[in-house]
Subunit: 354 residues, 2 copies
Amino acid sequence: MPPLTEQHGWLTSPVVVCAPMRLIALPQLAVEVSGAGGFGFIGAGNNLDKLDGWLREAANLVNDHSILRMQYEATGILPIGFGYFNWAPSEDLEKAVAAVRKWKPAAVWQFGAHNNEDYANWAEKIRQASDGRTKVWIQIGSVADAVDVARLAKPVDVLVVQGTDAGGHGLDSGAGIISLLPEVADALHNAGMADIKLIGAGGIMDGRGTAAALMLGADGVCLGTRFLASEEAAIAEGYRKEVVRATDGGANTARTKVYDKLRGTTLWPEKYNARGVLNKSFYDDKSGMTFEENQRLHDEAMKQGDSGWGVDGRITTYAGTGVGLVKSVMKAEDIVKEVQRDAMSRLRLAAKQQ
Amino acid sequence: MPPLTEQHGWLTSPVVVCAPMRLIALPQLAVEVSGAGGFGFIGAGNNLDKLDGWLREAANLVNDHSILRMQYEATGILPIGFGYFNWAPSEDLEKAVAAVRKWKPAAVWQFGAHNNEDYANWAEKIRQASDGRTKVWIQIGSVADAVDVARLAKPVDVLVVQGTDAGGHGLDSGAGIISLLPEVADALHNAGMADIKLIGAGGIMDGRGTAAALMLGADGVCLGTRFLASEEAAIAEGYRKEVVRATDGGANTARTKVYDKLRGTTLWPEKYNARGVLNKSFYDDKSGMTFEENQRLHDEAMKQGDSGWGVDGRITTYAGTGVGLVKSVMKAEDIVKEVQRDAMSRLRLAAKQQ
């Protein structure tokens, strides 16, 4: 397969992807990222009812953007993707398929299936709906799943290799991309599937993480937490402020099920949990408060609005271990360009110095 | 401060360090690594009784090695270091100080203190014993500890930045180096201590991880698990075989206290645990077996020798998430050289391609 930048004419190198964060990465953020030369995704999560409207909105935004419009007109492919959870009810598959048939997004991003066969079944329907022109991306978190998914859902275009540093949902135990990416690359190579593109995800915040992921074998990188602090993210101000405030993410975030439980999100497969910034909900759970009491306090905090976030708050701040590297809110376009520029200058400098 | 390769004449770039693995990294491995252009350490752990003998042995091996002998004669500094746990009894400090005074190793590596002041107290004595010629390395696992230790133990020569992917002991919760290294670098920079050298540790197995760590801001890398599978490691054959066999370390290793407990190692500070390959001891503990029964079975397995390791065994295989990247037993010298060569070719290629 040719490089991602050749498959998708608007992409520039190194490839920077914005994660399809559920209800946070919406058309504005997705199109802004693609417009900057990155790969934007709409995060539909487990509710695909609004998908058609979001894609219509994205198509309108694309038509307002000179480079993206040219791409769209020349190829008929909408230069963004959308992501969904494969644990959603199967009637949602029909909605995804209808959206692909109608809008021809550049890619769909699959994640969170109860079993790997579901990825394959959904992928086949997506490919049929677009005559194979909508690429299939699948997110995995272990070497075994990478090989299994690649075999079952053949041909997978992209595997998003998610390390355990990632914010939000992922496997409850796993490796960081420092070892996961190279082992996945080797395993796919040994299985004769080295042409699958790999996107590194989990803990990447800037040009340094991006250059590192490329060294580990990635064809591009995915940033989630960093884009929470973009102007275009559909995010509460309290949440975004907490992302900018929090530091030392290894010490001050954790992978846990307690936030999901408090939020009433109970449909994730058992082996998933989510990483968030530590707050009172977490500490009280740890020190033995009953779930009912914790729930009551959480639901009260939900009414506070923006002041309900923070280390003394109770509303969930999903974020990765790299949260301490996010220091300000920026335009998504500037994030993409800064990350690309810094990654390249690091690589060039190191190649010269050593 | 000048680069590590200028501070230590035998070092070549990129700097590859072998972790001071307790009772596994002994004189033969340490000198072999330094002889190859890396930085070898003796792992004394919490028992410094044998330290004088080990350093004598190392000095003899150094005198058998043409390049290292020249270095040693020219500088009077033994071109290896040794590492110890700072939770060892304070009479061990006297042993460490005596060894430094007598043998002038190039560095000591401090780790595992109950509080950061202990690092500072021990470091001061070490510096006095060598007129500051023995460098002080301290291993940390969080941004907060990096800054605190750097301030308390000033001047710290090297901070070893250990991510949670590391095998063996480390903080029970933390980030991978993908986010930990850059945030530590930024925090030290902001605190006016950017001249401290950083060594990345945790999940680095080969040239890919090494190149990645350099991109993240490291001045060099530390490999532990990879050197378990070196010919010169003082390791049981069953342990080494299990390191070569195990794959998919995110799925098949875990951070836990159960292995320490079974081995009777109870003196680590509460916030530390250790990563090892999953085996019957782990699974039985998880499925509710009493500790007494688990202990009995573990102690029986200890008598089996090499067959006591493995996924169906019960003897501990401390190893990092990158264990799946270790595919064969090699000479330590060849590991150092392969890692350096591959890291450099990756960096040069990427700088050209992008």
